[in-house]
């Protein structure tokens, strides 16, 4: 979990905070924002779960991305979803960061 005083700019702090609250307005379980070296930056879940998700998803995301690019080098990964019996994990990747969302879908 990050210390808010480390945020360099006040403007960006507000922006990130509002984005988070908007996205957390549903019944999602958790949010995890990570740097590409899979260090979690911010999360709504507890620390051990966050690190576990970050570590496990990191390799998976890289593998998925390399799969897509190997099939077609002009293509690239935009979104990744894993659906399991109990919930759904969604990943939005980027050059520097990725965002992991865990959602409990209604049945």
């Amino acid at each position: 979990m990050i210390n808010p005083v480390e945020w360099p700019l006040v403007g960006s702090l507000k922006a990130v905070a509002t984005l988070f609250t908007r996205m957390c307005a549903g019944r999602e379980t958790g949010f995890n924002l990570g740097a590409p070296s899979c260090i979690p930056i911010k999360s709504t879940m507890d620390n051990p779960t966050t690190t576990q998700y970050a570590n496990l998803m990191h390799n998976f995301i890289l593998k998925a991305r390399s799969t897509v690019r190997e099939i077609d080098p002009q293509n690239d990964l935009t979104f990744l979803r894993i659906r399991s019996k109990k919930n759904e994990i969604m990943v939005a990747p980027d050059k520097d960061y990725f965002l992991i969302v865990i959602q409990n879908p209604t049945e």
């Binding site: 740097a35 620390n47 049945e107």
Partner: protein
């Protein structure tokens, strides 16, 4: 005579060498010291041609063959090896440093905000689509082979015990899930019999499993009423007898299996022991003690000390005067102060909390941490305490079995002789629901270890009934007939390691191992939430 021949001239000097040989020979013999009169001369070589070849030619054709034989020379080689250098290396493990979250890197705030802004729209769109999506409705993936019905895998029995007409009074699976043990005794005899009885164990993973021949048989001096395997040691099993003794055996030692016994001392139970449970010791959680529950109202904790004795380490006694008065109970007849306990179940969320089923039909919520001294006339080496904290509404008859849910901290089931199963919450005295499963007695009820909404019950009509509260709360999902002549099924246990197996023992002296269909072994989506919902909506 030694001629030193130059290497290159050997071929040319063949005849010359011969002459040299001849001349040198004469020269050497004509040395200056040699006496004169005898002179050496070399004469020509006289040769006689061989005849035998010609002779052979007269007789017939000559077949000349030249044969030679020689063993090939054995090649030998010698080599010697010696390590002349060696290196020493030492290895030592270091205490691992606690993994600390690496410090948050100095990331770029505006870039992070830009990323989030870019990504937010897409993610919220996907999240919203998921709420309304029906794409995965009814979509089930099977990772394992599906079993459609409940089948009987094994029918195990011990003919000498069956010959004596003994019933199976307790079954237990061991910690690895491969051995099932059963205790033989009689549940309908009222007298102190000198009936010798048995505890048998079958190893189901062994090849050549013979259903009539247990892999281990222990003779016990009196009818065994209950059985429990040690939680971590696969061969230790504790049993309670009709005489009130508690014994611990080691089934891997065929010649002398008895490890510990309580003996018949002042501390021992004076009535049949109905259930034994292994509990971790409070300070050393890898060592275990045995808790025994008997009809004399005592709940005793035994510890194995040297020389094979089980010593009382703590004890509780139930007395009518000390029962919490939150529920109106029948007035006890005069002179009766003990409340016989017939079943015990520990909560999986709070290890000091347990539920006792009693002969009066009311379950009791008790705690190992209770401090009040018990009002009892029974002598005991350790002061007995009164454990009861809360009394629940009674059944119509004695409670034979209780089981705490492994998935919800407040729910537990109790089954009694009135044929009903009550689902209680620890928070209120009245049961949440009451299900009538049988017109006869119910002897055992157990929650499933994998599915939060499933439990199994053993009835006096010879069925094993599996209930799924998700499907229907009125009738069983599956009802399997164990005995043909409706003799009762006395005990059942789920196998926690191989979750598709269920063992049930009946009055004919057989233990049947049932393989459950896949719907009972795989947890569906959101079952824990359903259980919570059930607990809260029925309670209101």
């Amino acid at each position: 005579m030694a001629t030193s021949a130059q290497p290159g001239q050997l071929g040319l000097a063949g005849s010359a060498g011969a002459e040299a040989l001849a001349t040198s020979g004469t020269a050497s013999t004509e040395g200056p010291e040699r006496p004169g009169p005898l002179q050496d001369e070399t004469l020509g070589v006289a040769s006689v041609p061989s005849q035998w070849r010609g002779v052979q030619g007269i007789r017939g054709e000559t077949v000349r063959a030249r044969k030679s034989c020689q063993t090939a020379s054995i090649t030998t080689a010698e080599a010697s090896v010696q390590a002349r250098k060696h290196v020493d290396a030492e290895v030592q493990t270091e205490i691992p440093e606690p993994v600390s979250l690496p410090s948050v890197p100095r990331y770029n705030g505006p870039r992070l905000a830009a990323f989030l802004r870019k990504v937010e729209a897409m993610v919220t769109r996907e999240l919203n689509k998921n709420w309304q999506s029906h794409a995965f409705d009814g979509f089930e993936v099977n990772w394992a082979e599906q079993q459609q019905t409940v089948t009987c895998l094994h029918t195990l029995s011990y003919p000498p015990a069956q010959g004596q007409g003994l019933h199976v009074t307790g079954v237990s699976w061991n910690s690895t899930g491969s051995v099932v043990a059963c205790a033989y005794g009689r549940l309908d005899d009222g007298d102190w019999s000198t009936l010798r009885s048995f505890v048998c164990a079958w190893n189901l993973d062994r090849r050549g499993l013979s259903p009539q021949q247990p892999s281990a048989v222990v003779e016990v001096p009196s009818a065994a009423m209950c059985l429990a395997f040690h939680p971590t040691r696969p061969s230790h099993v504790a049993g309670g007898l009709y005489s009130g003794e508690v014994l611990v055996w080691d089934m891997s030692r065929p010649e002398d299996p008895l490890l510990w016994r309580t003996g018949l001392t002042d501390d021992t139970h004076t009535d049949p022991v109905y259930q034994v449970v292994w509990l971790p010791e409070p300070r050393h959680s890898h060592r275990f003690q045995v808790l025994s529950v008997a009809a004399d109202g005592k709940v005793l904790l035994w510890q194995g000390v040297g020389a094979g004795r089980l010593q009382l380490s703590a004890g509780f006694a139930l007395a009518v005067q000390q029962l919490p008065r939150n529920t109106k109970l029948k007035k006890p007849s005069r002179g009766e102060t003990e409340v016989g306990a017939t079943a015990v179940s520990f909560s999986s969320f709070d290890p000091s909390l347990f539920v006792l089923g009693t002969e009066g039909g009311f379950p009791l919520k008790c705690s190992l941490m209770a401090e009040d001294a018990a009002v009892t006339r029974m002598p005991s080496s350790v002061p007995l305490r009164a454990p009861a904290q809360f009394t629940f509404a009674p059944h119509g008859g004695p409670v034979y079995s209780v089981s705490c849910s492994p998935f919800h901290r407040n729910l537990f089931l109790s089954a009694g002789t009135d044929g009903h199963v009550h689902l209680y919450s620890m928070l209120q005295a009245q049961p949440l629901t009451s299900l009538q499963l049988s017109h006869k007695y119910l002897f055992a009820v157990r929650w499933s270890p994998v599915r939060p909404l499933v439990f199994a019950a053993a009835s006096g009509e010879g069925d094993v009934q599996l209930f799924d509260l998700q499907k229907s709360s009125q009738k069983p999902a599956v009802s399997v007939r164990q005995t043909e002549d409706e003799s009762p099924v006395y005990c059942l246990e789920f196998n926690c390691q191989q979750t598709q197996l269920l063992a049930a023992g009946d009055a004919k002296g057989t233990v049947k191992v049932w393989q459950l269909s896949s719907e009972f072994t795989e947890q569906g989506a959101r079952e824990t939430e359903h259980l919570d919902q059930l607990a809260s909506e029925v309670a209101s």
